[in-house]
Subunit: 223 residues, 2 copies
């Protein structure tokens, strides 16, 4: 037996232990937590910028913006009206882990918001393996990345509950096929909730906002 | 002292040992090896498809196509005229490592080609840490990903020798600024050779082809 496997398992189970604690805290405070995962540049930050404006006065958000370097994303979210924004600079690490989230949550009052967005590092592989205590992972894919991505990175699509197909305004400019990407994604995970959006034109964002409001209402028990 | 760090170091130094052996083999056979790294969907495979056609009869290529799942990319490269094409399916792993390359090279006759392309897993973080015995890493970035990527994923741009800015035909459709991405990239790595290409329109590919021919000529000692 190699000694690599037990060590890896130990790291992951420690992560799962911390994630379970986070989940209990958020559940107790009835806060919805979404872990946003995607390739670099698919539009996670743009989607959050739009969401902050589109749901202003309706939902209170906390946002954690993970990045390998720079806190550009966090700065963008503050500029877009984010009141509770925390950057995590991983300093080279390719994913967020539950320990990083635990540290950030220690400083937040859980009474002040309804929904926690965790913007993960732009990486379609590694973040799929790390539970952050979220209710759901939401995978964002942009039309310029090609419609084969669900088949090539299946773990991320299998472990996500929703998929946002972003940059649909750029769709006619490549051989990206909207039906094919949905078919590919649903083949991996038949239960995906799918959104089609353009953060540039605003198309499709209404359905996304409504879904977020519904999630919050469900968790608060207002439905 | 944690026992995690030495293990990680051990894995990396074993990788470096194998990479050094690969490099010696390729140097001895005077084969240029380029490790293509990028986000998912930036156009690595498209660039290779074009290159196979554009340099047909001029250079002999071997291609290794790494992917988490599927051998779609390898199939595309064979269809585009690739004679020596080997898929590596990592089965979940987020990067290629030198051991995987070693195994593939065992079955290849190094007399049959001038240039080895290694198409890495689409991931702008992890592959930067793994030497595959290549002469150079070439990072591909597409205009739809945004001009901030060099600052957000600096290791990849620091360790690459060339940067291909792809999908320049889609540039007017976002706030992507060509000068800004170059400035950001050169701030991280002042020695980057930069190409601007569109695999869709063919723009800029000539300079890329010429550069490849020059690299081969240099290594073969024909210059």
């Amino acid at each position: 037996m190699s000694d690599k496997i037990p060590l890896n398992e130990k790291i992951l189970s420690e992560n799962d232990r911390l994630a379970a604690i986070i989940r209990r805290q958020l559940d107790k405070s009835r806060i919805v937590a979404l872990n946003l995962v995607s390739s670099p540049g698919s539009g996670k930050t743009s989607l959050l910028e739009k969401t902050l404006v589109g749901l202003k006065g309706r939902l209170n958000f906390a946002l954690i913006a993970g990045d390998v370097q720079t806190q550009n994303d966090a700065d963008r979210l503050i500029k877009a009206g984010g009141k509770i924004v925390r950057p995590i600079i991983t300093g080279g690490a390719c994913h967020l882990d539950a320990r990083m989230i635990t540290r950030v949550l220690e400083d937040l009052s859980l009474d002040n918001f309804d929904l926690l967005f965790i913007e993960n590092v732009g990486n379609l592989v590694c973040p799929s393996s790390y539970d952050l205590g979220e209710d759901m992972k939401v995978v964002i894919i942009s039309t310029t990345e090609g419609d084969d991505k669900p088949l090539k990175y299946p773990a991320m699509f299998r472990r996500s509950s929703a998929m946002v197909i972003n940059k649909i305004d750029l769709m006619g400019l490549s051989d990206f096929d909207l039906n094919r990407v949905k078919e590919n994604a649903l083949r991996i995970n038949g239960n995906l909730t799918i959104f089609e959006t353009s953060c540039r034109t605003g198309e499709g964002l209404k359905g996304w906002y409504e879904w977020l409001e519904r999630l919050v209402a469900l968790k608060k028990g207002r439905d």
